[in-house]
């Protein structure tokens, strides 16, 4: 930064004034919102615009048009599949960001690693985790696949999958979670690099399905044109499963990335990204 | 007026601009570098002269229009007034360039490449001001002129010089922004804002708005013209090398400002609208005040160049005065004064620069004895000084005579008195210089004329001034151009103003 005088921008001084103003502003914000809300349609009103304008089609035609009994999945993955692609991109951006911020570039000082092994590590917990983790991972896959018919889908499944991984690291701690003795990479099979690969592949698969639809003459993400069968709803159902899987990969990878970087990132030599080593896989 | 669409106006404007890059690139070979300058000057002069026959025939060369803004193209037009200014600037550019060569070399100044490049750009901008067909083009050229002369002003690069440079920019750029505002406004009122003899704003808005616009525009162009009280930057800008001062005063900046005032009064508002709005008399009084004030300041100034600077402030207000009066003869006199003052003032500045180059002296009281040591220089100086004062047979007389006649056409007798008084004041501050230089004994016997590069330009300029005084319509037909510019304005003026039209 050279000889830049480190004077931050104006407006940061006089915190007292800001506090007074702020303390007054937020009740005012609340009141303003409430005033506006008094004119909104009554809570629970079945005749409100929100309930009568667009949603009837989603409810009444959704299953027939997209093949998903869960209307939320129908809207999420099909009618507004582009939003969901954006959603996957958002979480991917967060993972990318944490990698850039924490897992590469030198850290001045080491912070303690978040892990509970030295506190809670016990034989009971260990055994419980050994039983629980496979169940959680399996349940994650179930949630993914069953998203068509019940609450759930790629996103929830991905989070569960990531949570399973996190659970192991919480209990066993980063030092023991590594499958390979002697390795300083404190992960359970899924290195940071691996997580990154999963997440990227997820996004690529999603965009790829969208582009494939374009290749068959439809719009971006118009699954109906994919040559997967004759029944359009069925084709859409299959494609929806595909993009749910893509979201699953992205979310699962990113969740594990987020946890790893936030809880262990920045340790010197603790993370493979900052060093010049090659890929592990 | 018939219009001939041609590329010649573009050539005239572009010559200097095109020379900038070659000059910058040939910085290591001074001869080549200066060759580019002379080539560009010659091209510009040639383009100007080639457009003269059309002007004599009552036609004008017009460049193709480049659409920049709705209804406001970038366009150049060689009407008589523009052609007059263009021709003058290209002749004086050549003279100044040759003088610069000698001056810079004999003083061993640094950054010569940048100097010549900025010089070329500044002259191109002045040509753009001269040929601008509408207010937008004028504004663009005007701003470019400001910026390209700034490096010239701060050429010496000492802290004091930077102060002067900032003062120069403060005046001219602030004025430029006001001008921008005014131009936008005019563009909204009268789409196109094309310079029209006799003005185009009549009836475009209420009187109050027009008056405000006039003040904005006047401040915009008047600050470059150093009209009181906007003249503060001009004496300060005397820190520049002498050829730059010569350029600033005789060709580019100040003269462009005075030219702008003429355009404003004759081609934007027009004499009759100015009369209707009651603007003529205040402007004339402002000009008169400037003339007297600057002359008095010049009397008390010992710094050689600064005295010349105050003289410029005073002399250029003649042009403003002529624009304010607005009768054909006054306008013709004012337009001709652009030329007359150009030749005379450049002579004076060349002389001051030669003295500085030969002796390093900058103050009038130090000039004693130099008249004999430098006879050519001071002979030229005498011509310039007398011409400024309005001596018959010299060009200053012609412009002042016509100004006076024009004022009488409008029954403004006080102008004649003003002209006489200011002529006397001129003598009062120029003659002592000659007296000190010629009659007081010198203390340094080693002083000689500097190199021929420095002697020839002032002598040439003085001779040209004499020729111009004897035959104002010879050669480049300056008088004809001035007169036909004035006539074109007058053709659109009401009856009471057209008296005395030749």
């Amino acid at each position: 930064m050279g000889s830049t005088p480190p004077r931050p921008a104006g407006g940061e001084r006089a915190p007292r004034l800001r506090r007074v103003l702020g303390a007054a502003a937020f009740p005012a914000l609340f009141l303003g919102l409430v005033v506006g809300m008094t004119e909104l349609p009554e809570f629970g009103d079945p005749a409100s615009p929100a309930s009568t304008h667009l949603s009837p089609r989603f409810i009444e035609e959704g299953a027939a048009e997209t093949g998903a009994a869960n209307m939320v999945t129908a809207v999420l993955a099909d009618y507004r599949g582009y939003d969901t692609l954006g959603e996957a991109a958002v979480i991917f951006a967060a993972g990318l960001g944490c990698l850039v911020i924490l897992a590469s570039g030198g850290a001045r000082r080491d912070l303690p690693v978040a892990g509970m092994s030295n506190r809670f590590g016990s034989i009971v917990l260990d055994a419980a985790t050994r039983t629980l983790v496979p169940v959680v991972l399996l349940f994650a896959v179930y949630v993914l696949i069953h998203g068509h018919y019940s609450p759930g889908g790629g996103f929830q499944g991905g989070v569960l999958f990531g949570s399973g991984l996190i659970m192991m690291r919480l209990v066993w701690g980063p030092a023991d979670a590594s499958p390979r003795p002697g390795s300083d990479v404190p992960t359970f099979g899924l290195s940071l690099r691996g997580s990154l690969v999963l997440a990227s592949v997820g996004i690529l698969a999603y965009v790829g399905i969208g582009l494939a639809a374009m290749a068959f003459g439809g719009e971006f993400l118009n699954y109906g044109t994919l040559p997967l069968g004759s029944d359009p709803a069925h084709v859409r159902e299959l494609a929806t499963l595909g993009i749910e899987a893509a979201v699953f990969l992205t979310v699962g990878g990113t969740v594990s990335l987020l946890f790893d970087t936030i809880s262990i990132g920045m340790r010197e030599n603790g993370v493979p990204l900052g060093s010049e080593r090659g890929p592990r896989e | 007026m018939t219009e001939i669409v041609s590329l010649r106006p573009l050539l005239a404007v572009g010559a200097g601009l095109a020379a900038v890059l070659p000059i910058l690139l040939s910085g290591r070979r001074p001869a080549l570098r200066e060759g580019w300058t002379f080539l560009a000057g010659a091209v510009q002069l040639g383009a100007a002269l080639s457009m003269l026959p059309a002007a004599l025939a009552g036609a004008a060369h017009v460049s193709p229009a480049l659409p920049l803004l709705p209804g406001m193209p970038l366009q150049f037009r060689a009407d008589p007034l523009g052609l007059l200014f263009l021709t003058l600037s290209s002749i004086l550019w050549l003279a100044t360039s040759s003088y610069s060569v000698g001056y810079l070399r004999s003083l061993g100044l640094k950054h010569q490449t940048g100097y010549f490049a900025a010089f070329a750009a500044a002259v191109a901008a002045a040509a753009g001001v001269a040929l601008a067909a509408n207010l937008l083009t004028f504004l663009i050229a005007y701003e470019v002129l400001t910026l390209t002369t700034w490096p010239l002003v701060v050429h010496k690069r000492t802290s004091g010089v930077f102060g002067s440079g900032r003062s120069y920019l403060a005046y001219t750029l602030i004025a430029g922004q006001l001008l921008l505002g005014a131009v936008v406004w005019v563009g909204m009122l009268a789409p196109g804002a094309q310079f029209t003899p006799g003005g185009f704003l009549a009836g475009a808005a209420s009187d109050g708005v027009l008056r405000v616009l006039f003040v904005l525009l006047l401040v915009g162009v008047g600050s470059k013209a150093a009209v009181f009280p906007l003249h503060g930057w001009l004496p300060a800008a005397m820190v520049a090398p002498t050829p730059v001062s010569a350029l600033l005063h005789a060709v580019a900046v100040v003269k462009a400002g005075a030219f702008g005032v003429l355009r404003l009064t004759g081609w934007v508002f027009g004499p009759d609208l100015m009369h209707d709005l009651g603007l003529s008399l205040p402007l004339a009084l402002l000009a008169a005040g400037t003339i007297l004030m600057a002359s008095l300041r010049a009397l008390g100034e010992d710094h050689f160049k600064r005295r010349l600077a105050y003289s410029t402030v005073s002399q250029l207000s003649y042009i403003v005065l002529g624009g304010a009066i607005g009768t054909p003869l006054a306008l013709a006199g004012a337009a001709f004064h652009i030329v007359a003052h150009g030749f005379l003032k450049i002579t004076l500045f060349f002389c001051a620069g030669s003295v500085y180059a030969a002796t390093g002296r900058e103050h009038i009281s130090q000039l004693s004895g130099l008249g004999r040591a430098m006879p050519f220089t001071f002979a030229a100086f005498a011509v310039g000084a007398l011409g400024m004062a309005g001596m018959p047979l010299l060009p200053g007389f012609i412009s002042k005579w016509n100004l006076a006649l024009g004022a009488l056409d409008d029954h403004q007798v006080w102008v004649v008195a003003l002209l006489v008084v200011s002529g006397l004041l001129n003598l009062a501050y120029y003659l002592p210089i000659l007296r000190i230089a010629v009659f007081e004994p010198g203390d340094d016997r080693r002083v000689r004329e500097p190199s021929p590069w420095l002697v020839a330009p002032p002598v040439f300029a003085a001779l040209a001034a004499i020729v111009l005084g004897l035959a104002p319509d010879a050669g480049a037909r300056f008088w004809f151009l001035a007169e036909s510019a004035a006539r074109s304005v007058a053709e659109h003026a009401p009856e009471f103003l057209t008296g005395g039209l030749p």
Binding site: L54, E219, P279 | L180
Partner: protein
């Protein structure tokens, strides 16, 4: 072409953003060439779209084959394709700088092909987000892409380490608050109309009778987007962010980030919500805040000694000018605002690349330390001079014309706000004169201060800024001049679409 390009425009950057990190993670080679190729391809798509829209009129594109209002639509008219060209063009320059320019000290440490791949991915993600905002016709989708661009921007800002993480954190807080405010406003609109599609909204809003609720919705949306657009006094995040962002990203973020939010404001307030009473009031308030921002930004820029911080404040001033234009909403004003977006983006990008380059080479950020640099790198600094003059508003640089349009619009608007904006724009030019000429004077005419560290070590001075950065700087300067000179065609392609668009919406309203 017309039925493929819109999809490609949004799909390409997203695919690239995932592809580059993947490539970097799987191979040890640099991702430089693929990144550049992707950016060029995106620019090509944007240019092709611009041409196609100019020739054949606006394009409506139903993503997933679901037409609006049920599905999400893209809407590409002259305005949005212009923004797309601007965004993707600036991204090309940033990508070039990222590919070849050396990073700044903080980021250079421990830089690996993987890290570079991640940063390139983040840049593409940012581009994806901005292009998504520009193209979408759905208010919720706009939020999603706003967040994509924001998260990618935080990443790029924070990649400098040290202070830049603090700047990024503050930016994140402001940006998230902005996003939530916007989303709350969208919730109000949804409750009132039951739709999220902009066209549908515009046609259903006039029959909504809940004035207070509508006002709250408009205010929430306007405030949210104004934070992102750094409208005074909601600009708090901007100076530190611009100052501490590493160079390649700073040139891009400073150039287009806030402008895309201003574009969103224009779309929503100027087109979709224009018919509402609250919208009109908010637009008028925006003019006044713009005036305040123009003046405050200019004054504070004068007060700065550090070049980048000065540029940051100047950006606040410029955003004020753009929002004045958005607020006025006349054809002239919109032209001026759009033109200023382009002119300012080009100039600020150029200046931030230059200033960042000087800083990266240890040249410092203080005006005094810029003394004499012009002689050492004449071409680069000539280009920076062009950019500075454009921001001052000197013809024939592009900035002159945007000021001209905005001044004309102020006069045409009349009334106190017209006068105030007229005066503010003139004043901002003067202030810009003051702060930029101080730099130019140092650069060109002042003798360089003795640099003790360099003089004592005796090593040769080396280039003033990394050579690869000189190309974007010079290229942008050329573009500034070209944009200025060829101003008219630009306007002719963009405005008619906009006017027909607003006219169509006005006609649809009962």
């Amino acid at each position: 072409m017309r039925d493929v390009l819109p999809g490609l425009l949004v799909a390409l950057p997203l695919a690239g953003a995932a592809f580059l990190p993947l490539l970097a993670a799987l191979s040890r080679r640099t991702t430089r060439v693929p990144a550049l190729a992707l950016h060029v391809a995106i620019l090509a798509a944007a240019l092709a779209l611009f041409g196609s829209v100019a020739a054949g009129g606006p394009i409506r594109y139903a993503l997933g084959g679901w037409p609006g209002p049920w599905g999400i639509e893209l809407w590409l008219d002259g305005l949005s394709t212009l923004m797309a060209v601007l965004v993707s063009g600036m991204a090309c320059f940033a990508s070039f700088a990222q590919a070849f320019g050396s990073n700044e000290d903080g980021a250079a440490r421990g830089s690996t092909p993987l890290r570079e791949g991640l940063l390139r991915g983040a840049l593409l993600l940012l581009v994806a987000g901005l292009l998504g905002i520009v193209a979408t016709r759905d208010v919720f989708n706009l939020f999603v892409f706003l967040e994509i661009s924001s998260l990618a921007a935080y990443t790029l800002v924070a990649s400098g380490g040290g202070r830049s993480t603090v700047a990024a954190f503050r930016y994140l807080l402001a940006g998230t608050a902005a996003g939530s405010l916007y989303l709350f406003g969208v919730g109000f609109l949804y409750a009132l109309t039951g739709t999220l599609n902009m066209d549908d909204l515009a046609s259903r809003l006039p029959s909504v009778e809940a004035d207070a609720a509508l006002t709250v919705a408009v205010v929430l949306i306007a405030v949210g987007l104004s934070i992102k657009a750094a409208l005074f006094p909601l600009h708090g995040w901007l100076p530190d962010t611009y100052v501490y962002t590493p160079t390649p990203a700073a040139g891009f973020i400073a150039a287009v980030m806030a402008k895309v939010s201003a574009y969103a404001l224009l779309r929503l307030l100027g087109e979709v919500l224009a018919g509402t009473e609250a919208g009109a009031v908010v637009l008028e308030v925006m003019i006044w805040l713009g005036v305040a921002g123009v003046v405050a930004g200019g004054v504070l820029a004068v007060a700065q000694r550090a070049v980048t911080r000065m540029l940051a404040w100047s950006s606040i001033s410029a955003m004020g000018m753009i929002l004045i234009g958005v607020g006025m909403g006349s054809a002239l004003a919109i032209t001026g605002a759009l033109f200023h977006m382009a002119a300012h983006a080009l100039a600020k990008g150029c200046l931030f690349f230059g200033a960042g380059g000087v800083r990266a080479r240890g040249g410092g950020d203080d005006v005094e330390r810029w003394a004499g640099l012009g002689a050492r790198a004449p071409w680069t600094f000539a280009a920076l001079t062009v950019a500075a003059l454009s921001l001052i508003g000197i013809p024939p640089a592009a900035g002159f014309f945007s000021k001209y349009y905005l001044l004309s619009a102020s006069i045409a608007a009349g009334g106190p706000e017209g006068i105030a904006s007229f005066a503010a724009i003139i004043l901002s030019s003067l202030l810009a004169t003051v702060y930029f000429l101080r730099v130019l004077e140092a650069v060109w005419f002042r003798a360089p201060a003795e640099a003790p560290d360099r003089a004592s070590s005796g090593e040769p001075a080396g280039p003033v800024l990394p050579r690869p950065l000189a190309l974007p700087v010079v290229g942008l300067a050329v573009l500034i001049l070209l944009t200025g000179i060829f101003a008219r065609p630009f306007e002719r392609h963009v405005l008619p679409d906009w006017e027909t668009g607003t006219a169509r919406i006005a006609a649809e309203a009962p």
